[in-house]
Symmetry: C2
Subunit: 449 residues, 2 copies
Amino acid sequence: MFVYHGYTGKLASLLSSMNIEPGDRIKVVKGGEVFEGVLMPRYTIRSGEDILVIKLDNGYNVGVKIEEGSQISLLSKKPRVERRGRIGEAGGRRGEIVLLSTGGTIASKIDYETGAVVPALSTEEIIEWAPDLADIALFEAREVMSVFSEDITPEDWERLAREVYEEMNRGVAGVVIAHGTDMMSYSAAALAFAIRDKPVPIVFVGSQRSSDRPSSDSILNLKGAFITAAKAPLAESVVAMHASTSDEMIAVHRGVKVRKMHTSRRDAFQSINDKPIALVNPYTGEIKIVGRILRERDRGRTPILEGRFDNRVALVKAYPGVQPEIIDFLVDKGFHGIVIEGSGLGHIANRLIESIKRGVENGIPFVMTSQCLFGRVNLNVYSTGRRLLEAGVIPLEDMLPEVAYVKLSWVLANKSRDLSEVRKWMLTNLEGEITYRHTLDLFPRWPYE
Amino acid sequence: MFVYHGYTGKLASLLSSMNIEPGDRIKVVKGGEVFEGVLMPRYTIRSGEDILVIKLDNGYNVGVKIEEGSQISLLSKKPRVERRGRIGEAGGRRGEIVLLSTGGTIASKIDYETGAVVPALSTEEIIEWAPDLADIALFEAREVMSVFSEDITPEDWERLAREVYEEMNRGVAGVVIAHGTDMMSYSAAALAFAIRDKPVPIVFVGSQRSSDRPSSDSILNLKGAFITAAKAPLAESVVAMHASTSDEMIAVHRGVKVRKMHTSRRDAFQSINDKPIALVNPYTGEIKIVGRILRERDRGRTPILEGRFDNRVALVKAYPGVQPEIIDFLVDKGFHGIVIEGSGLGHIANRLIESIKRGVENGIPFVMTSQCLFGRVNLNVYSTGRRLLEAGVIPLEDMLPEVAYVKLSWVLANKSRDLSEVRKWMLTNLEGEITYRHTLDLFPRWPYE
């Protein structure tokens, strides 16, 4: 089957013979109707498909069924991207960054057959679609995997860590990782731990809206991420996403302190128990530091890869009536570590403590976080907490449950499975995952205030 | 063993013979030192204990070890609470409310031996300690259980629902439930569903600070709860807690839309995907409606008790690498329902879908919520969502994961275990647990904005 930018059959042959490519401006006359706009690639290849996708000037995409008698003409070729460069070559120039694509909405398109969004946009297509990214920095882009972020596994983090590590060794000024938003904060935390002594930033970026929707945040987020990767004076794993619903500012959040806090808003990502590190103006390129930089950019620093993750860690949320048999099951199955998303200051029902104790006696670390998300756990205030401490539970300060999960997986695979070592590493603040002092203004302001 | 307000041995005999009770002003002279203040009751009974607890005028409690030669004298008796009334008697007066105590910080005190806070304050002691509650409304108080809220179970909700139902049938103007804050929002949701056609409000109230700490929020929260129970024009299950860290206003949140969002702040409870219903000024008694009342107070309405809860519901949070064997285990163990706290718009790894499908085929309802907390799930946007829908997963709009857990437990026990019936009831908006339209201002404003 001849496939041409996702098109097949006669349509593929026709477009190819006319040298029409995605990005070119075309006109289709069909019956009495005229469709004029930019040709889009297809992202689901189906043989026999004869629908042409055109982005109209109003920003909407239409699928035009090409029939006998339909006329297609080329109005103008797409503008050429001239300023792309390659990285790491001899005498490599400053400001060169790499964009690694993993899948997700920033690289996804509507499947016009099912109406659902599927991850498919290739890196080349990203470049075609947002050529002005090259104004920010010379960059190279490639796809390292293509999965929805909800399918990301600890094994994927290992692969991603190796890719990023290699890029850093090649001397890039920064790495941008296009990632689905669902699990982006988990992956940002994973990369924070997986590469020690980072010389340059790792910038995760995604999109809350499909890139062919007029309200898409893809391009501005990517611009913010590119600016951060190329120029921000930090060397941490961060998330760059819309700071508010208006297209004014991109917030740069510490990867171990950020969480997706809304299912659909463009400003869904927010720092918890910390402030964002910076705000980036995607139009001017200005970077305003509003938080704390914990590791400064230093391209001379040699990164260390500690990129393994243990996939036998479970996260258990406390709820009224939570069944001790769930803990028993995880212990019996030989899980390597368990994160409790406790209630309040870090509690779970007392009737589970015997099961937890048995797990600890079997060498399984139990760490405690809070489903409140904001604030710090404290097992010294109430007697339940004290009993949990006695059972060997490790309280993780103000660490997010999701970050505790990632870090425990990382500690178990790279450091030790010895309980006292696990305790030591979990409580060692490696990447700012613990904020020791909270100011009152870290809690957001609520609608009615 | 003779126990007198928690005191034992010689001390108990001495206090009793001198007619000294907690709340009385006393003076202790011991060696060269003089301690003057209010006698506090003991909350951990230990024989042989000879420590007297005195609340000093600076608000701090001291434990004074009474030795040979120590002198205790009564300075003044505590003020008498005269305005308490009983409820439901013939010709019952308007404004009479009942305070049901379940345990938790609002009824807890420091155990001076271990230094930890234990739940122990009796209802009588609450009244002694905050006599001006009687200024708000005639009230009766009693303890229906004494557990930490992290130990609350669905069985406890059944008991609590019966108690509240009986109070409503006796014609109270409102029910206040003193509850530990850890699981308070779960219980508030449980009572919302357990009593249909409520005639008057059920007001949950707790304290983020132990009642013997100077910064305690106990009394103001209780006042706000009493005002709400006695006078607010609503008949829903709500949570009344500090609206901000300043002692100015108590917020009244819908029980099915509230969540403890901070481990320690006094304004930890916040409405998610909804506004609070009201703000109450605990000093003036003024009630300002700032949100929507979904059921108005009507003491003539006859409540219906549907107070059972199924304790075989589990909540599973999606995380990268979440193990399908956890779902398999719950299905094999014959759990009756599973709430998924998915990622983003309501996803979980595709590799779990076969396990979920098997569960649904075995008649187990799976419902989908989002760990983002804010926003609405939508399984029609991405292909993972569509596959979850095909597997039979029920998407729960903008319902909180915790509320979905409570409601599923309630539906299974009171309505049906038939999948299509469960779907119908889960998606029927009984208590405002679903907000169909979100305004942009429902998302909080973040520190750096």
